[in-house]
Symmetry: C2
Subunit: 312 residues, 2 copies
């Protein structure tokens, strides 16, 4: 059903329910291109409007730029439409962010999700502005649409609303949105209110309905790898104006999310995928991350099923 | 004078006074290979036993792996002996750290300085162990000597003494030392005491004499770009057993260091180099870093001269 709703029409802009897609790896820890495409196809079939690939969940920073570009090209060659992808193209190195962003445009992506340069701490807005200005000017492509990826718990630096305002003024039509993973509803609500037209994605489906109600874009979330069907139901109920149903579905979705959040997220998601699919490819994760301890994925999956997780 | 002491004899192991070398860039923010080699030559002539290139000061994480490898090759082609270099080869991506480490060995480096993978926070020792184990096993070269780069203020993750112990047990003769930039003398002292033979470099020349007194290896420091001559005098007085002179020289060196530390370090050092050399190449810095405000480099240089900074 969801398939028919999402995969046939031309995507004009990025909006709705996005999984921050996991990156399956073979036993040598290389990206398994075939499994990657299969998982992306599964997520689109489950109702995702699009996919945030190469984000925190996708272990993007644990991959080299060459690996990210090769995997992106393989994904598109494997039949995943570039227009359904929001690739993460951030890097601490401006030159690498430029290269990754160009590759995303070549792959047909309608936007790129750009993490802040995250090595140096205590840097000011001027330096961050220079980074995004340098990126936009070096990519020099009218197709470029930048989503600012705010995740201060990982990066140690954040994007202030005043920096967003400055970037929107300097690069209108190029700086178009954000993924906000700070976990702070007040900030998401303020961004939706202060910057109408700026596409705000919550970094968790916990805020999906609230974000849609504020005319935000939707969510891009790690746990949507597992909750895609249920997140899509929330979205569709909201769009159809079935407010009470949407709220009830959101409550169930939030319960699922909170249950997963009690575990280390990426290992937990790879563990669940291994259990759901029986595929060996899910047992591999790049350091510094490590797998869940034996038995914990089964325990988590059993909890999720009790909460009504839709089966694959 | 210092030239003759340092540049003629075969370097057997890395020890002494190391500058964490700055990376000069042209107006397009590309590494200026010629200026890079010239600056490294200047630092060796000023008395540095070796150079930590591509560290925090060298803006390594603001460069792509390709740029780091090209600059390293150009440096060696430009006459800087590979055996005097301790290249930073860390990366959040294991595959990239492997590639950078291999390139360092090819360039003749006697060691590599490996930063912890710094994107994910809250990772445990098991994941960090896996990262270093993966690096060593993939590089698979008997020449590999790893120095662990501990700088929790930037990386948000640190190397615990118990992880060092575990790595030393698993990879004796390969894990050989550390650069400790946490700024905590108690930790450096404890590492020198607990791991005899493990080469501990302080990340600041403020601890140079204290570290040498504990049989530590020396220091690898950003500010040695400017204080190299004076740091070398401290080292030589200590080695010659002129303890009182060493202590007096250390006091002056510490004053210089503290004066620079009151400014944003990397911009301040590039600013001073611009003033000392008159070269335009020092006015360029990659985002997210930004130059000092107008006039502040002159103000800093004037303070350093009052404290007796040796002239170039």
């Amino acid at each position: 059903m969801a398939q028919d709703l999402t995969s046939k029409k031309k995507v004009e802009q990025l909006t709705g329910v996005f999984a921050a897609a996991l990156t399956p790896m073979d036993d040598g820890l290389n990206v398994d291109h075939e499994a990657f495409a299969a998982n992306c196809r599964r997520l689109l079939d489950a109702g995702c409007h699009g996919l945030g690939i190469f984000g925190t969940t996708g272990e993007a920073n644990s991959l080299s730029a060459d690996e990210r570009i090769a995997a992106l090209e393989a994904l598109v060659a494997g039949g995943i439409p570039g227009e359904r992808l929001l690739p993460g193209t951030g890097s601490c190195a401006l030159t690498e962010a430029v290269r990754l962003s160009r590759a995303a445009l070549e792959a047909g992506a309608l936007g790129v999700l750009v993490l802040l340069p995250f090595y140096y701490k205590g840097v000011g807005d001027d330096g961050l502005f220079r980074f995004f200005a340098g990126l936009i000017e070096r990519v020099a492509d009218p197709r470029l649409r930048v989503y600012l990826y705010h995740f201060p718990q990982m990066t140690g630096v954040g994007i202030s609303p005043s920096l967003i305002e400055r970037l929107l003024e300097a690069y209108p039509g190029v700086i178009v949105g954000t993924k906000d993973s700070a976990g702070d509803w007040g900030r998401i609500e303020a961004l939706c209110r202060e910057f109408p037209g700026f596409r705000v994605f919550a970094g968790t489906e916990r805020f999906l309905l609230d974000t849609l109600r504020q005319d935000g874009a939707g969510c891009i979330s790690a746990t949507v790898n597992v909750t895609a069907r249920q997140a899509r139901l929330v979205h569709d109920a909201h769009v159809a104006g079935r407010d009470e149903e949407a709220a009830a579905l959101q409550k169930q979705l939030t319960d699922l999310r909170e249950t997963i959040e009690a575990y280390p997220t990426i290992p937990a998601l790879k563990g669940i995928m291994g259990r759901l699919t029986g595929e060996d490819v899910w047992r591999n994760i790049r350091p510094p991350l490590t797998n869940l301890e034996e038995g914990r994925a089964d325990e988590l999956l059993s909890r999720l099923r009790k909460l009504g997780l839709h089966q694959e």
